[in-house]
């Protein structure tokens, strides 16, 4: 029995699929007993959303945090971050579906493109972890939809374009790139003016409120490990996804006159990913989902000499994709912070004074600042971050009591927060390594030790 894919069925299916996919890691996390939000960055946004003094500092101001702040002002709750992410995810998918209708695609092609988009780690990351890219992607797809409207209605993009420069420079670059490609394809005056206006606005905003190139500091990453979710990349692509995208790229080569702008874009985005920042994969994902859908359609529509081989191949791809995403969802549902982490930080909040500084390994500062509401020695957005990283290394790895205590005193560090990850190889592999060895000294007092998390007070 053949099922006819109507527009209504496509919309209904992708809506349900998006909700299921985005809720699944949250549900897994909740039912495993972990009620905390996933990820490190989520806590930065929570902190900003509940603290207007910090929010309105220029380097932190993003429209995403502003919206969260607004929602929190109505009802104070961490759940807003999740609701906002999921709502933006659904909105993005529906808008992308609408955008794809402008292309000469069949319902089946569009359907598969959307399925591959939803079932991609980069998409799940963007709309499950509380982060500004969920709003950025939504806005960009909305702008793309409005640009494809006829006549002066294109200028409806203006209010949304106004928000973009307040995100990172990467987002502005991507937006400008999109406008440029659109103008090259369509040669519409309205788009030209919008592009020029947007560029001017970006320059102005950068002068008045300088934004970072990208929000996450470029800490260095392995290209392969971050690019492939199967190798552990949090925002990467699945191998099967990529396989189909490559098939799609090859099989649409004959129509390269239509897609000529895509190939250099893909190369540019991959190079950007490799050398600058991995967040770009969130945008690359849309392009690859497009070609993955094309790739699957080519496999499906092709007249195979052996029909059973065709069915088996497609089945393998789909099962592989589902298993890959299943594994990814399970992996992220177990991501930090967990309940012991949250409990320890809440205890620290209740058992320390407001201006006391807490020391821990890099990446933990958002939890310390957001949950424990204490100043962290390391702050990724601090201009002296690199110097502080060196000091942190000395503190963590040195067995020289004099050196370590001097550094702790000079930097007014009062508490040291340690979790299982740190003693399990992230920082130390041996119980007598570095700072752990120095804890024998009476100047260090273990004031908290529960479920693998330790807090040490330095006197």
């Amino acid at each position: 029995m053949k099922i006819k894919l109507t527009e209504r069925k496509i919309v209904l299916f992708i809506f349900i699929l998006t909700v299921m996919v985005l809720l699944s890691p949250l549900a897994l996390r909740y039912f495993s007993g972990n009620t905390t939000l996933m990820g490190t960055e989520s806590y930065l946004h929570l902190k900003l959303a509940s603290n207007p003094d910090v929010l309105f500092q220029p380097r932190f101001f993003t429209p995403y945090d502003l919206i969260l702040f607004g929602l929190n002002s109505l009802i104070q709750s961490n759940v807003w971050a999740l609701i906002l992410s999921i709502a933006l995810g659904i909105g993005t998918v529906l808008l992308f579906n609408n955008f794809l209708r402008k292309f000469d695609l069949t319902n089946e092609q569009r359907f598969f493109i959307l399925v591959f988009l939803i079932l991609s780690p980069a998409f799940i990351y963007a709309f499950v972890f509380a982060n500004q890219y969920s709003l950025v992607v939504f806005l960009l797809i909305l702008i793309a939809n409005l640009l494809s409207v006829k006549g002066h209605l294109k200028y409806l993009t203006i209010p949304f374009l106004l928000f973009i420069p307040f995100f990172d420079v990467l987002t502005s670059l991507v937006t400008f790139g999109g406008l440029l490609i659109y103008w090259l394809l369509k040669k519409e005056k309205a788009v030209f003016y919008l592009g020029i206006g947007f560029l001017g606005l970006v320059v102005l905003i950068q002068i008045l409120f300088p934004q970072p190139l990208t929000y996450e500091p470029i800490l260095g990453h392995s290209f392969f490990e971050e690019f492939f979710s199967d190798l552990g990349g949090l925002k990467g692509l699945s191998l099967f996804h990529l396989f189909l995208a490559v098939v799609g790229l090859i099989t649409t080569w004959k129509e390269r006159k239509i897609y000529y702008f895509v190939y250099p874009t893909i190369i540019f985005l991959i190079l950007f990913f490799a050398f600058v920042n991995e967040n770009i994969v969130i945008y690359l994902n849309f392009i690859l989902a497009f070609f993955a859908g094309q790739g699957l359609m080519w496999l499906w529509k092709r007249k195979w000499k052996l029909n059973f081989l065709k069915n088996l191949s497609i089945l393998l791809i789909l099962i592989g994709l589902v298993l890959s995403i299943g594994s990814y969802v399970t992996q992220i549902s177990q991501s930090q912070p967990n309940d012991p982490t949250k409990e320890s930080l809440l205890w620290l909040r209740d058992n320390s004074r407001p201006h006391e500084i807490v020391f821990s390994y890099q990446g933990k500062e958002f939890w310390i600042e957001s949950i424990a509401e204490r100043e962290s020695f390391l702050d990724a957005y601090d201009q002296g971050y690199k110097n502080k990283l060196k000091i942190a290394d000395d503190i963590l790895y040195s067995r020289d009591l004099k050196l370590t205590t001097q550094l702790l005193e000079d930097n007014k560090i009062k508490y040291i927060w340690i979790d299982l990850e740190m003693v399990g190889g992230q920082v130390w592999k041996d119980e007598d390594e570095g700072l752990l060895f120095l804890f024998r000294n009476p100047r260090f007092k273990n004031i908290y030790n529960k479920k693998g998390v330790e807090i040490w007070e330095f006197n």
Partner: protein, 497 residues
Amino acid sequence: MKLKYYHWILIALLILTLGSRLFFAFQTPYFDHDAYFNLRQIEHIKETGLPLYEDDLSYGGRTNYFPPFFHYVLAFFSLFLPVTLVGKIIPNLMVSFLTLIVFLIAKKITKDNNAALFAAFISGFIPVLFAETINSVSELTLVIPLVFLALYYLMNLQQKKFLYGYLIIIVILSLTHASTFLLILGLIFYLIFSEVEIIKRNRNETELILFSTLIFIWIQTLFYKKAFLMHGISLVWKNMPADIIASHFSEITILGTIIQVGWLPFFYGVYLMFKYIFKEKNKYIYTYISLALPVVILLWLKWIEPSLGLIFLGVTLSVLFPEFYVITVNYIKKTKFSKFKYIFPVLLTITFVATSFLPAVFLAGLQLERTVTEPEIQAMAWLEEQEGDVVLGALEEGFLINFLAQKENVFDDNFLLIENSEEIANDVKTIYTTNSRIEAVELLNKYKVDYIVVSDKVKEDYQIKKLYFRDEDCIRKEYKGEIEIYKNNCEVKTMVI
């Protein structure tokens, strides 16, 4: 069917190849050090029906995932024969069949029986293949013949039996060893070449190659998913510590390549590649060139172990060789020397014997010296009788400690799913090279080591003459012989600073 002259020669070649292999294999009752991992797996499958994925002895307890088809094949034979005999005979038998497969391929390409016989002869005595697989109980003894059988089937897709045969082989290969990816890569290169060179492909080929790629990725993901997540890109180098990578993924020289692959296959194979790439369009030649090229690239990048790459390269070049033979013979026929055309095969045989057969025998002899020795066996037998669980030895002795001494090792050659492989390797190096008893004992206690083996391998690996921190109190020599074994009775007490 009446057997023709070349059938008899082929049978003789098979017997010669198998006979030579078994001759060398039975020069020693023991195996290469790495073989003991597979032997242990085979025994476990024989006893329980399942591979030993949760290993209590390796690294003091670890998880191990690998495709087990090869081990199941040998376990089946071990129902009828002792495991050690199976380890000697079956792998050598399987790889000897390569001569038949190469004959079939060469005949398909050249339609010349004599050329095909030469190819078969060469393939039986590729030095690196011969030496590395005699006593190693290696999966490559199944992978290599199957890879080339798959390629032969791919050349005959007009007949449905070969098509189904190809599918079955691809699934078996994916369940046998990860080195199958070299075949997959070769097939992808073939697709690219045939597009660029506009070589007409059989419609089935594209579909089969797509399917092969998918099934291979799928099966490898099942086995190695955890390893992918844990190790990331260092999975390419099997998560080996830096010091050990250098010895396993060493640089290979042109001369080394020629010696290990064989002079004839190397030079004539390279000549053919230059002749055919972007010049003449021969679909079958392109198939094998497509297999050779990625191997060369990966060897150059040091992304595969030299022995693996050279084995694939050697067999591929031996398949390409007969084309050169036919070209040369046809050329000679047209020249003044046509009456000497029968001398050419004789000269070729002599050259092959001198440049491949003899080096193969020589390398096999060298390899025999590296197999497990009688003193090692005796030492392991002694260890098995002792109380105590953990034995520290050289890297290569790890599997031996598990299989023969039935004791836990501190480390061995299988680094997959070991999180702190670098740390362990460094600690072991420190133990063997330090003068400080405290430092050594701290590390020995960290790994709960009961016995420390000091063999020639240890001395060679760590450039030591003895165990520097030994004493008569707590690190006492308990076994004396060519191998020394010390017992650890020491303890370090922690002080407050």
